[in-house]
Amino acid sequence: MTWLPAASVHAGQVDILLGGLLLISLAVLGLVFGLMLLNIIRFRVGSRVPVSAETVAHKSWRFEIAWTSVTLAVFFALFLWAARLYVVGFQPPSGAIQIYVTGKQWMWKVQYPGGQREINALHVPLGRPVQLLLTSEDVIHDFSIPALRIKHDVLPRRYQSLWFTATQVGAFRFYCTQFCGIGHSRMTGTLIVLTPTDYANWLGQTPASGSLATRGEALFIHNGCSGCHVSQPYSPGADDTSRAPSMVGLYGSQTMGPDGQRVKVDNAFLHDAILHTATVSGQAAAYATQMPSYRGVLAEEDLAALIAYIQTLSPSRLSGVGMSASPERKGN
């Protein structure tokens, strides 16, 4: 049995938090069991030690207030400490490598920006932030990497984000940790952290059917998206956006949501917009034609490719921002 490695800075910080929790727990346990034993020895029926009257008649409320407030203070400190570490998970750094991970009963499908794909294995470079974009084709799964101390549920038809920067070369196991049917325990795989050069070599050697964005471009044309949506800034008719919004510069911009609030165009937004157009209904009235739903036409892998392609049309905004799960990014 090997002790669980900590393969990222975050993992180390979580371990320190766990250590702190463990110390507090041991102290409290020592107190509880110690007092219990002392009481039993001292006050057991038949014990010789005489019990003074003042031992029996305590002023209870002082004790009550004391231990209630001490407990509260310790708990509040723990809460703050743990919450600060958790918030980090919602703030993927810009420039992270975006890798699409799709769960289905019972395997993990992984797609790289360069078009490489693999199943139940995930290759990442050492020292570079990686953002996983997680979605599921059927039930709820959960992508868990114990060596990095992170996990996140993987929900059907929406994107969840998980990011990390690996700091240790090696192979680490990842698991599905949300029960997803009888093959649940076979839904595991290996995270392989490579040095940047090894990673580049690995990318080069792995066959790829064009980059993800290239495949997306083909899908964009093949599925007739280009019939309505403009995708090149200076093409003929680029100013004619009466039929449908232009894809140029769309990613990362603000648009009108279903109830008139402004929402940001991100991966989750595009994903929903392509599958069921309800979420962009606020704008639909502005265009002459109504976009059909591509539910059942496009698989999750195709969607990932399309979104990767649409991202390339807004080069200035391309970054690791804009997950459905992320609230406004704060500076800290």
Binding site: P258, D259, H276, T277, A278, S281, A284, Q290, M291, S293
Partner: protein, 210 residues
């Protein structure tokens, strides 16, 4: 309600206990419908357009008539409770029968409404009548519609049964002095069923219609 070992000190104590029990049960019922209303709160917000599309397809006419019927029924029964307090058995039976009759009419109309809706393919599923981009939200609305009206209808059936039981036991016990407590307990329940409808009516027929 004479138990072999009645734990009550006096008839009054017994009546208070029974009425308190009914109130507590209704608190539980509120949470039951509360969970259902959460569906409305969430989806009428996140899927507002589709939800409103669904609302526009409900039959306001029948809904309105039913609301009037149920309010009248509740009023009739309340008169019965009053009669019971005055030990007027005839009044109780009369009020009970009219309240139950109005309730049955409500259910018949509701059944007719359901029948037309099913014929129009408004039950969510593959053959759902409303197409277009808002079909999903409208289907969610109709899921809520059918489930909530079914659940409310079930409560109506139980209530009508209870009122029937009240009428029967009052009729059979004509000779003895009338005990008002069971009439009141059933009255609490019937008013609750009425109240649920008063909340369901705007949710199903009005909010989002215009």
């Amino acid at each position: 309600m004479s138990e072999h070992l009645a734990p009550y000190d006096s008839p009054r104590h017994r009546d208070e206990t029974a009425i308190a029990g009914m109130w507590l049960f209704l608190a539980s019922e509120i949470l039951l419908f509360g969970g259902l209303f959460l569906i409305f709160v969430v989806y009428s917000h996140t899927r507002a357009a589709g939800w409103a599309l669904g609302v526009r397809h409900t039959n306001l006419m029948i809904g309105g008539i039913n609301t009037a019927l149920l309010l009248t029924s509740s009023m009739a029964y309340t008169l019965g409770v009053d009669a019971a307090r005055n030990e007027n058995a005839r009044g109780v039976i009369l009020a009970g029968l009219s309240a139950a009759g109005l309730g049955v009419t409500f259910l018949c109309l509701k059944g007719w409404e359901w029948h037309t809706e099913l014929a129009d393919h408004l039950f969510p599923g593959p053959g759902f009548a409303l197409g277009g981009p808002q079909a999903g939200g409208a289907q969610l609305f109709y899921s809520f519609y059918f489930l909530s009206t079914a659940l409310h209808g079930l409560h109506m059936l139980v209530g009508i049964g209870l009122i029937g039981w009240i009428c029967l036991r009052t009729y059979r016990g004509r000779s003895a002095p009338l005990i008002a407590m069971p009439v009141e307990v059933v009255g609490l329940y019937w008013s609750f069923v009425d109240l649920v409808w008063v909340l369901l009516f705007p949710v199903l027929y009005l909010i989002g219609r215009v």
